[in-house]
């Protein structure tokens, strides 16, 4: 009897123990936090797809490659070349003293690949999704492909050979190899052409804050310039110019306004809550000098004096701060340091298409038509027109000067122009520390340490 009881007891104990342990699974089940959504679910619904893409634009706007103000490509490369002079001369861009371990170099690399991961993940998620129609997906795929190409086009001009990452697999991406510069350009071309199939000329919103097909065409034209395929560059630049959505703003004061007809793509500024006022653009906050402090950036004497008399751009796009009988000129393209009601940060404007076209033409020996494009810009600045020039190199020099006056402090134009036309060595005239080493950025040291496949380091670093 007792043994029987004991057996029952033991059985009960064993049963309940197993029961208890099995239910432990349930015991430690938890809910998803409110601010996270399963990846699969993100691509089921158009609203969350838009949100995922919105974050990519948000990051692009803050990314050093596209940021309008301080610590962005426009500002850093104006210092790196000969457009800006900082009050505090102890600036590694100004001194052309980059090294592989400094933060800004790492930032250019790291944030680009961070954003590229998000773009690749977005493309993977969207392509996999069976809940959205191909038609709905189209424009988003097009924008993502365009953005990927755009990032790489900047990256490769900075670093030269780079890995062209198109997947999200960390195992392969952590051991990735670099692709030759020409290969990278071809990959970019491929992505851009593909994006043209998905994009339309129609903007998603009225204020042109998302890129459309015309923007992709312009970037493709620039890609062809880099590849020296000038006829194709001409073709695509011409397409942009021919597009009736865009006109050169004849009033020079309207060029950097939100409603400008010359704008192809601009970054949206955030609205200040409960008002119609936007936060100031980064350009306005960075460049406008109201008092001389260490962080003030002035227009270099060389650039300041390169303007011809009566150049409207000098009158309207350069401001002057004076102290102790000395004049400190500054970049004044964006005016609203406060109370911003009408300025966004413009990434691409029609003038770039004219310069791209002009460059493509001159390298094909079509000098007259090339001059035509430049003159169009000159006339808007109320300058006399240029006559015939036969020598291509001479024409290139003039084009570079005109480009400098038009695009100073914008998105590193000066650096990329000089580089594309093999004229960077000119900088050594005004920049004592300039050397061939400065043509490329160093790869961040930490990246080389983590992935030796990225070796060798760029020349000189």
């Amino acid at each position: 009897m007792k043994t029987f009881l004991l057996n029952i007891y033991t059985t009960c104990l064993v049963v309940s123990l197993t029961f208890f342990l099995n239910s432990c699974e349930k015991l430690i089940e938890i809910d998803l936090p409110d601010n996270q959504i399963n990846t699969e679910d993100v691509f089921k619904d158009i609203t969350t797809v838009k949100a995922a893409l919105s974050n990519i634009y948000f990051n692009a706007k803050e990314n050093p490659l596209f940021r309008g103000g301080i610590n962005g490509v426009g500002c850093d490369f104006s210092l790196y070349t000969d457009e800006l002079e900082p009050i505090d001369k102890n600036n590694i861009f100004y001194q052309n003293a980059l090294s592989a371990s400094v933060t800004p170099v790492k930032d250019y690399w790291m944030f680009a690949y961070r954003d590229l991961y998000a773009i690749n993940a977005f493309l993977e998620g969207l392509n996999k999704s069976e809940h959205l129609t191909e038609q709905t997906k189209s424009v988003f795929i097009g924008e993502a492909l365009f953005l990927r190409a755009l990032y790489y086009q900047y990256l490769t001009q900075l670093f030269g050979e780079i890995p062209y990452i198109k997947s999200t697999d960390y195992k392969t991406n952590s051991k990735t190899n670099k692709l030759a510069y020409e290969q990278v350009l071809l990959e970019i071309e491929k992505d851009l052409k593909e994006s043209l199939d998905y994009l339309t000329y129609q903007y998603r919103t009225l204020d042109r804050v998302y890129p459309n097909k015309a923007v992709a065409e312009l970037v493709l034209a620039q890609n062809y310039l880099l590849q020296k395929k000038y006829n194709l560059a001409e073709e695509f630049a011409q397409k942009v110019i021919n597009n009736t959505q865009y006109n050169i703003e004849l009033d020079i004061k309207s060029v950097f306004k939100k409603q400008a007809k010359s704008t192809l793509w601009q970054f949206n500024s955030s609205l200040i809550d409960n008002s119609k006022v936007y936060l100031p653009t980064k350009e306005a906050s960075t460049y406008i000098i109201e008092n001389l402090v260490n962080s003030s950036l002035t227009i270099s004497e060389k650039l300041f004096h390169s303007f011809e008399t009566n150049d409207l751009r000098k009158t309207h796009w350069i401001g002057e701060f004076s102290k102790d009988n000395k004049i400190y000129p500054y970049c004044f393209k964006y005016k609203n340091k406060e109370n911003n009601t009408d300025e966004y940060s413009i990434v691409f404007r029609l003038e770039q298409a004219y310069f791209t076209l002009s460059e493509a033409l001159m390298y094909q020996g079509k000098n007259d038509r090339a001059i035509e494009q430049i003159n169009l810009i000159r006339s808007r600045a109320a300058l006399p027109l240029i006559g015939t020039i036969v020598d291509t190199q001479e024409l290139v020099t003039i084009m570079l000067q005109e480009s400098n006056k038009e695009f100073f402090c914008e998105f590193g134009h000066r650096f990329f122009d000089l580089k594309r036309n093999d004229r960077l060595s000119e900088l050594s005239l005004t920049k004592p520390n300039w050397s061939d080493v400065n043509i490329l950025f160093p790869y961040p040291e930490s990246e080389l340490l983590l992935n030796p496949n990225l070796l060798p380091q760029n020349y000189g670093y």
Binding site: Y9, L27, V42, Y57, N90, Q95, S174, S270, N291
Partner: protein
Amino acid sequence: MKTQILTTCGYRIAMLVSLLIGYPTYAVSNDNHLFFNASYFLQDKQQKGIIKLSGTVKDAQGVLGGVIVSVGNKTVATDLDGKYSIDVTVGDRITFSMLGYKERSIVYSSSMGAVLNIELLEDTTTLDEIVVNAGYYTVKDRERTGSIARVTAKDIEFQPVVNPLQALQGRMAGVSITQYSGTPGGGFEIQIRGKNSLSFDGNEPLYIIDGVPIVSQYLNGFLSAGILNTKISPLNSINPNDIESIEILKDADATAIYGSRGANGVILITTKKASKSTTQLVISSSTSFSKAVNQMSLLNTEEFNKLREEAFINDGITDYPVNAYDMNGTWDKNRYTDWQKELIGNTAVGHETLIGLSGGSQTTSFRLNTSLTNNSTIFPTDKGYKRNAVSFNINHLGLDSKLRANIGVNYALQKNNLPAVDFTKTALNLAPNAPALYKEDGSLNWQDGTFANPLAQLDKTYNNQTKSLSLNANFDYNLTSEVSLKVNLGLTSSEFDENVLSPHTIFNPGLGFTSERSRSEKGFVNSQSYIIEPQLNWQKKWNKHSLIMLIGSTFENQQNNSFKITGSNFSSNALIKNIEAAKVKTIDNLTNSQYKYAAVFTRINYNFDSKYIVNLTGRRDGSSRFGYNNKFGNFGAFGVAWVFSEENYLRHLPWLNLAKIRSSYGITGSDNIGDYQYLDTYTVNKGKYDEITGLYPSRLLNADFGWEKTTKFELALDLTFLHNKINASLQYYNNKSSNQLVGYSLPWTTGFASITSNFPATVVNNGWEFTLNTNNIDSKDWNWQTNFNISFPKNKLKRFKDLEDSTYKNKYVLGKSINIVKLYHLEGVNPQSGLYEFTDYNQDGHLTADDKQITKEIGITFHGGLQNTITYKNLSLDFLFHFVKQQNYNYDALYKYIGDLQTNLPIQMLDRWSKDNIHAKYTYASSGTDSSLMNLYNRYIESDRTISDASFIRLKNVSVSYNFNLPNKGIDSVKIYIQGQNLWTHTNYYGLDPEFVLLGFSPPLKTYAFGAQITF
């Protein structure tokens, strides 16, 4: 839904427990069951001449409850009045024993009658009866198999510290504690037996206060980085004076019962409990004065000016630039200010008041303690840290003394009002001839916008407030004399909110900012947790055998909510505290998270004749932090001890009291990786584009990471000689961590810096620890005790799968410590050019990362403490030296240009290169326009010169106290004391202070405190 799970779960636990309880009860109540009733066969059932003996047990102060009275196999305990009664026969040996008292044995003879009153003498030295808290169980120190270090109230109370961890520095072997910052209310880096984990947070031990684990990782706020180095210790919420003892569990035997959370050691904190039935009122108060422990010798104005002039000459600049304010006449270049005195030279004042009341009846007693603590800082502000804490504790003995209940509540309200940034860096960097802080009219001086006045930063304030409540209840019910049921329940709730206010006045007025630039940030972190731990104990003694078994389970649930909002652009600074008034508002973070944890654990302890002891512990854990295939893990340990002094051949040596060899081996783990890491999700971002809120990919996905495991081995020898006058312990440990959970470093080409993953490496931490406690003098009036401890930790990367092919190829070296840093080797300054020269190891003509071939280890070679306590009658002197032999970063790691206006320098840097000083230690001065120097500076701060000896010996604590006994004045006693902290330091360290975690934060403080305690 959740409550339902809990209810069913609770129900199941109850069922299981009741079965477990029922089983042995059933067995015991049946005479013939063979195992559990072995004692029945062995028991002498003689029934003749039984006498019911009763009496009272007292000590010098009064009656003693809880004294164990034993006769043969029978034991009873005295009640709260000290009364007992037990059956005896003539010739029986009656033993009276109690922790902290000398045991007394009496052979009963018929002449004694039926009443036997006994007085026990206090015994402060008996090791035998020191009972150590091991968490789920307690163990006699003499019989323990594990490695447990212990510090009691005696060493902690009255110390002028905010956080109890601070009071432990230098007192325990194998435990290294470093303060993140000297600012009160901050945190500590604590390493128990070295660094197991590579991740920053991965070395945190498990903290358990009165049985309730506390949530440590959530107290890291959003905004405290600038002033408190981010980490805020969760132990700030306990007043050190409320602590009875702190036990640190180190080896596998002690920690395996905590399974997956024991890998980094366990810190058990036991608060003071109600014990006395007489009413006692204790009031104490103290005041302390503190200063930064050290100052650096920096350049004076003359030296600084000389360097500046030299810098411009070297750069070939004669036309001084607009921002060379000292040279171009904007500033008075001959001013001198000792900025260390101005900015970090304030005397921090602290006050503490404690009021405690305890009392009770025979069965119920209570203890209430309240404390008010205030501490200011060394910065030029009178604000600081405040803590109001209440702890309440009730003890109840009921149901024929079978039920013991202990219920405790701790509540603390902490407020910290600080400047948002630490001024230490500024104090070291600011030029000695920088302008005055104030204008003559008392307003801040910006020197026409040329001087970034550091005091403007005082307007930027950091405030936090923590409300922490912890409730714990322990019920212990003796079902039979052998079986007891324990339930431990805990509930914690903490509300942490903080804000940083940055009015536009912190900016140079030259920038023309208005309150539109003012910002206000606010963060909240709320966390709640509860824990339920039923536990069943069974113990049996027969002849020389003793067997203890324990089985229990844990269920824990933690919930966190956090929220951060930023407001900017205010119409007036008067509104800055109210974020609603901001024109731009951003929600930076709005998160909730959940963590659940369930486990069953067991312990089996067998003891033969107090000579051979075997201890087995085991635990099966489930944690919500792992993916579906890896939620559960098993942990366990095996410990043995051989008390060879109990062997017959040693037993009668009068000078040897205890000789014990113990050893243990086992596996513990860690799940310290944060929640939800295995999920593939997108997270909501604060940023909007085109007014659409963003979603970003949360992380690189690795759903398959599993438990981290650390195997620990220990071998130790414990000896006690000469009537317990000398206690020595020598311990060797060898811990191997493998499969560590880390953020595995990845190149950015993967889109992320790391992925949560198991680290394919084995890291070995081994070392020796030695402790020696001696009772040098023990006479009626004089008493002198010495405690010494020293530890030699060693760290080694033993194995790394495919190291050459991994992203860690350039970081680690097999066979070396994981704390190594690879650096450039600085050969010196070239006597001709004055430039730094580094070794070009790969001889490619360039200095690249490949040339970082010199390895230096950052870490401790040995550390320890020497404490002496001398008492003469009622006067007591106690002092503790703390010593550390280590290497760490020195001031050169913060080094900037020689000759820059922004940077003052240590006097060592006067040894710079010039034509007259070609064999210099440092390069030549430059105003920052020499680009060849720029690159070399960057390499210099990554060279082997930046790491050097940071060893020190420090008089950590001194205390002198005097106790007046005034029993007839209505006051029991008055104790007055003086305490000193960090009064003296010996070091060759080059920098502000060798005791730091990250450079640039406020150093430890030198403190003098005075106080008195009155007991009624």
